[in-house]
Symmetry: C2
Subunit: 180 residues, 2 copies
């Protein structure tokens, strides 16, 4: 599929509600458990997505739109949320994600991006030149990947409870070695 | 985590709304694309979950509750939905899943299951003896795994659009060989 701005924004708009449906009001056994050392719990994923709203996608889009293709993104801190959200409730993070995402999508719409802007480039610190189109496609895929992670981590909490069904439920053995 | 009936039912209740948030109103390029031959699109996943409501989880629970541990489940047809849902709209399938799930959860609640019932057994045609507790845990994990599949399949439609980000987005390369 070719990149489409309107449907990409439509998918980005859905993420906070999807995560609220999955997580709002679940117990901490579901929201705070992870897949092992150095992996994210669902709570951590919501924090990581908030970090993305504040420090990653839109700040990088602004760098690209400044039209200096040699400008380089600030490296992204994948662990900023650990300190930022200590003591926060999951419900308050879900509210914050919804607010930040709505603000960012309103700004994105206000830019009225066309193909010319989507072709603009800047430099990723390790990946090299990237276009605004690739950044926005990456934002969509990043959301979807982290929703997949949330439900995978939740599913794994019942690994031992499904008994002989475990080999029939591949989500239980996905990412046994962390991939992100 | 040990199996908990109340929180399992809470998770099962969330699935139709989660899928509606993700899918209702997306174009067919998102809802009808899959991961390759013999894999499910998001549309197919919703149909497969409806099949589960009608032919799998509750019918098997009823067999277990009939208290004959030698009773054997009817094998489950993973492809019933292909013929059943030809010509249907995704919106109508989402409505149907929500209705069937609500009915099934009302029935499950009406049974007022305790530990004695959760320990009851019947035979899975290939896995052998399984308990009602394992069946219900499997239902939860099955839901979560198929939500993960929906977002993974959607993410993969943008594989080529993210450019150099692809190696940083592991969801794009999950299940390259189908696992379910």
């Amino acid at each position: 599929m070719r990149f489409d701005l309107a449907s990409s924004m439509d998918l980005l708009r859905r993420t906070p509600g999807t995560l609220r449906d999955l997580l709002d009001g679940v117990g901490e056994a579901w929201s705070r458990s992870n897949e092992g050392a150095d992996t994210f719990s669902p709570f951590d994923v919501v924090g990581h997505l908030i970090d993305g709203e504040e420090t990653d996608w839109m700040p990088r889009a602004r760098i690209i739109l400044a039209r200096d293709p040699e400008a380089t993104f600030v490296p992204y801190d994948r662990f900023r949320h650990y300190a930022r959200n200590r003591g926060r409730s999951l419900g308050s993070l879900l509210d914050e994600l919804a607010r930040l995402r709505a603000e960012n999508l309103a700004q994105l719409a206000a830019w009225k991006l066309g193909e010319t802007e989507l072709d603009l480039r800047a430099r990723h610190p390790s990946l090299g030149p990237v276009t605004l189109r690739q950044l926005l496609a990456g934002w969509v895929v990043h959301d979807l990947g982290h929703i997949a992670q949330v439900v995978r981590v939740m599913a794994k909490q019942y690994h031992d409870e499904v008994g002989p069904w475990a080999p029939y439920l591949p989500v239980l053995t996905d990412h046994e070695a962390p991939r992100s």
